[in-house]
């Protein structure tokens, strides 16, 4: 839930964006941490621990503790407490350790395929 009236703080108006959590569209504010947007939507379980599969949320909120690692646009181990929300992001709960090399390879593949497509079209 968002804070409405506050005795000291005023929260400036920001641009609303749509992003996807496990494929489901949600709204958040552009530039806020992904974790803040998820929290505001009532989502606090961010991943499952690698060995015991226990639910994990965020703990430190400032990028120190690695409790909040999620898969963002296919890239695992993203600290969503400090990663800024952008329009159209796809955010998924991370299960286990996350395949970073696979994610990098997939991203490169996409880039290469995109590059070829561009050349072909030109």
């Amino acid at each position: 839930m968002r804070i409405g009236e506050h005795p000291i703080l005023t929260f400036p108006a920001r641009r609303k964006v749509t992003f996807f959590f496990e494929g489901r569209p949600l709204e958040g504010y552009e530039g806020e941490p992904i974790a803040a947007a998820l929290h505001a939507a009532g989502i606090r379980v961010l991943r499952e621990s690698p060995v015991l599969g226990r639910p994990r949320g965020f703990f430190c909120a400032v990028g120190n503790c690695s409790s909040c690692l999620m898969v963002v646009d296919g890239v695992p181990n993203v600290r969503v407490c400090v990663e800024k929300l952008r329009e159209g992001m796809h955010v998924e709960r991370q299960v286990g350790k996350g395949d970073l090399l696979g994610a990098v390879a997939a991203k490169r593949g996409v880039l290469r395929a995109g590059g070829r497509g561009g050349e072909g079209g030109a």
Binding site: I3, I8, L46, R56
Partner: protein, 367 residues
């Protein structure tokens, strides 16, 4: 490769003060921070500061962040590099960094002539069953969520720790309309200032001293907390349990210095519980055992923001002086030292004084 005369890591109260002090001496400073705004943890501190007038007593932390932030942005001697994470320190004195711009990252390197590390501190966890459940947070995390991002952490909270951080954040939870079921404190006395404790007691929040968490409950998320009384040896007393329904459990049980870069640089470290754990040995000029590397703020030993600004200024002045650029160092450092002594005086400063004495002792024993 960037080649600043002085590089300051961390743009919190200590780092901004260090950068400004060095730049005022005419030295070119590179100030680097991971976040998009300068201010460090001041950006979430809505309460008014105590301490000395020179360090903005009576002003809210968020205002101090704005004031100092404006100065580092406009000072011609300071280059401010934001959204930049320092990754490591190498034996040839090179620091590596990752800078993120519009979601894309670039890799940077710097070899500064002097380094000032003001990396701050991280929150300590606490061991009890269920401490990994979503809904169990560092107290500072809840403060960030509420005061920076405008999001409520939940509906009903239990706070662990009645030091100043625990007390202040309990009050701030109420300001965000989150109920606070109780503050529990393992020590037999409240550690924070009476003025903070009175404020939350007036709101009807009980402070249970000699109590700690026995267990956190919940299936997928936190649903409740069992606390119990502890004896003088910090052991839980069976039969004294009390249960609170809560979806937020905040841990305000201390901080540990973030000193990874100093470990990497080979600085002599010492374990000093009063200063938060492993801390870099440093002299009264804030210089570590490695010449040319300085440390200030919580990274030098966990204290509070007012003294962080003074140790930061001291480190900035000393770094500039070591480059021959601070002709009035003696006088300026003397002023800073007097301010530190005033901030560390009396009963609230006892822990720090003990810690600093122990730091000296550990270093002496290590030779």
């Amino acid at each position: 490769m960037l080649n600043p005369q002085v590089m300051v890591v961390g743009a919190g109260p200590a780092g901004m003060s260090a950068a400004l002090a060095a730049a005022d001496c005419g030295v070119k400073v590179l100030l680097v921070d991971f976040f998009s705004e300068p201010g460090g943890q001041l950006v979430k501190q809505t309460h008014k500061f105590f301490g000395s007038r020179g360090e903005h007593a009576g002003v809210r932390g968020i205002e101090i962040a704005r004031l100092l932030g404006e100065k580092v942005r406009t000072h011609l001697g300071v280059e401010l590099l934001l959204d930049t994470q320092v990754l490591g320190y190498y034996p040839d004195g090179v620091l590596t960094m990752e800078r993120t711009v519009d979601g894309e990252s670039e890799y940077l390197k710097a070899r500064p002539r002097r380094l000032v590390v003001c990396a701050g501190a991280s929150e300590k966890p606490l061991a009890f069953p269920g401490n990994d459940l979503p809904g169990v947070y560092g107290a500072g995390a809840v403060q960030t969520l509420m005061n920076v991002h405008g999001v409520m952490p939940g509906r009903r909270a239990v706070m662990v720790g009645a030091g100043n951080i625990g007390l202040i954040i309990s009050y701030q939870l109420r300001q965000a309309r989150v109920e606070v079921a109780a503050v529990v404190e393992a020590a037999p006395v409240i550690g924070g200032y009476a003025v903070h404790a009175s404020k939350i007691r007036r709101l009807g929040v009980p402070i249970l001293t000699s109590h700690s968490v026995k267990e956190a409950h919940g299936e997928r998320e936190l649903e409740g907390v069992t606390v119990w009384r502890v004896d003088e040896r910090w052991q839980g007393i069976p039969g004294s349990e009390r249960h609170f329904e809560a979806d937020v459990l905040c841990l305000a049980v201390g901080l540990s210095p973030l000193a990874e870069l100093l470990w990497q640089a080979g600085c002599r470290m010492a374990y000093v519980p009063e200063l938060g754990g492993h801390v870099p040995w440093h002299d009264e000029h804030q210089q570590t055992s490695v010449p040319g590397i300085f440390v200030a703020g919580d990274a030098a030993g966990v204290e509070e923001a007012s003294s962080a600004m003074v140790t930061g200024r001291m480190a900035g002045l000393a770094a500039a002086a070591s480059l021959g650029s601070c002709p009035h160092y003696r006088e300026l450092a003397g002023e800073a030292r007097a301010q530190l002594e005033a901030l560390r005086a009396g009963p609230p400063g006892e822990k720090i004084r003990k810690g600093l004495a122990r730091l000296e002792e550990v270093a002496r024993r290590a030779g």
